[in-house]
Amino acid sequence: MAITVNRKKLTFWEKLYLPAIVGGLKVTLKHAYNTLFLGKVVTMEYPEQKWTLPTGYRGAPYLVKDQDNSTKCVSCQLCEFVCPPKAIRITPPGEHGQKADRTNAEKMPAEFEINMLRCIFCGFCQEVCPEEAIFLQKDYSLTGLSRSEMIYNKEKLLSLGGEVGGIQKWKLKLDEAKAQENFPVKL
């Protein structure tokens, strides 16, 4: 069954097109004026201007140091295991290897590599890390001239990650436990 759409009958003035044309020209001219003289541009000129990233943004994962400037990573290799694209490779220190540079830790990795070409910024490593030693930070534009350059080693990751002193895992756990005491779990 054919459906007839009732079109509005145009007046002679509307049929002339000319008022509509002039209206269109006015709109485009206004936009051109706004961009040219008022600087109302929607373009963000990227390398010079950058986004303000939201909290919780998942950028590149870097290793962090604690407040004493020592390595938090204890080389447990959970992140290596959980990493979906297998971007992380950890070389543990071995039996007679280097000791951890902080107290409360047995060891630290001899080498910690993240292949940034493989990394998918999923955040599993951050989630799984028991020591809160790896964080997805706000870097998103990683560039390099070769594949080998894109494999970030421990030194580079630590220097890029910087110090996250505010996060003290065991203090946090203690606070959580204290909070739970106020709401005893009924069995």
Binding site: G24, T28, A32, T35, K40, V41, T43, E45
Partner: protein, 353 residues
């Protein structure tokens, strides 16, 4: 054999072609910049040869304006591989771009771009049948496009070619008809004479406004510019007649389109807006000094560039016409309107005489 004439003609041809090419190059940039401004964007603002950054203030400003972009574009076209696809009809494929460009450039020959400098008239060929010549040449322009569409041996270019042939033939008629009132009023086909008539009587657009509107719309259709860019409708026909073209051959089609814009703008200025004349500062009669001759050339260029900007401006404002609407507008609106316009003008002239 008049050597003076030959030498001066060659100089004028060289300068005219150079200027037209320059305008074409920079109208591509203008197109991109104006479209950017209309769409709240920035447009090309990065390209610059390496030495420019050492020029203070001016260098970054020019870069930001995108002044070097056309040079980069031209270079890109030149160094690209000149590729001929396998299935094409080779001869037509090769001559089509030339057939598009040559008529576009030839039209410039009869346009008086200035009054005179010294004893030299600022027109390459001061033909007595200037307008007829223009129409003859312009109608040749369709061959380039049709041949390109045919030679590509693929359906979308073919559609583009067919569309353009129908479109250009239809609009040529209303275009030709729209100029007849102008010829009736002036009584001469010579473009220089038309300008000198306008310098004493005022701009022709005041005498024949309907002619001007029809001429303008028809020249949009003739140059395949946006409300009527059906031959190259990107969204429907991939790229229309130049789908199969690349590198310099594609650039030639571009050149043809913009040269057509230049010559249409020049024709509009000449026929309806007094050519090189201005009603004040004593620029309304043929130049008596060197400086005045130069000034009149710049007056002409300024008027022409205004119309180029209008061409570009309209492109970024209008949606494309549907094909039946295009034909409807050409045959059922403009043709009768042009005929009535001729009649009214003729009656008016008859009553006045």
């Amino acid at each position: 054999m008049n050597w003076n004439f030959i030498i001066f003609s060659l100089v004028k041809i060289a300068i005219a072609i150079g200027v037209v090419q320059g305008i074409v190059m920079y109208s591509v940039l203008a197109e991109r910049k104006i479209s950017a401004w209309i769409q709240d964007r920035v447009g090309p603002n990065r390209t610059a040869p390496p030495f420019v950054k050492y020029i203070p203030v001016v260098g970054p400003f020019l870069t930001r304006l995108g002044v070097f972009q056309p040079l980069a574009d031209g270079l890109k076209f030149l160094v690209k591989e000149d590729f001929t696809p396998g299935g094409v009809k080779k001869i037509y494929f090769w001559i089509a771009p030339a057939l598009a460009v040559i008529p576009a450039m030839l039209t410039i020959a009869v346009i008086p771009f200035g009054s005179n400098i010294g004893a030299q008239k600022m027109v390459i060929a001061d033909l007595n049948v200037g307008i007829l010549y223009t129409f003859g040449i312009v109608s040749m322009g369709v061959y380039g496009i049709v041949l390109a569409g045919y030679a590509a041996n693929s359906k979308y270019p073919m559609f583009g070619g067919i569309r353009s042939s129908a479109q250009m033939i239809s609009y040529e008629i209303s275009m030709g008809m729209s100029v007849i009132p102008v010829l009736l009023i002036v009584g001469n086909l010579n473009l220089s004479q038309i300008i000198s008539w306008q310098s004493t009587h005022g701009w022709m657009v005041a005498y024949a406004p309907i002619s001007f509107i029809i001429f303008m719309v028809a020249s949009f259709a003739e140059t395949n510019r946006t409300p009527f860019d059906l031959p190259e409708a990107e969204t429907e026909l991939v790229g229309g007649y130049h789908t199969e073209y690349g590198s310099m051959k594609f650039a030639l089609f571009f050149l043809a389109e913009y040269s057509n814009m230049v010559s249409s703008s020049a024709m509009m200025v000449t026929l309806f807006f007094g050519g090189w004349t201005l009603p004040f500062w004593g620029l309304d009669h043929a130049a008596t000094s060197f400086g005045m001759g130069i000034a009149q050339i710049f007056v002409f260029l300024a008027k022409m560039l205004f119309f180029m900007v209008v061409f570009i401006w309209v492109r970024w404002m209008f949606p494309r016409f549907r094909y039946d609407q295009l034909m409807d507008l050409g045959w059922r609106r403009f043709l009768p309107l042009a005929l009535v316009n001729i009649l009214i003008t003729a009656v008016w002239l008859w009553l006045r005489s």
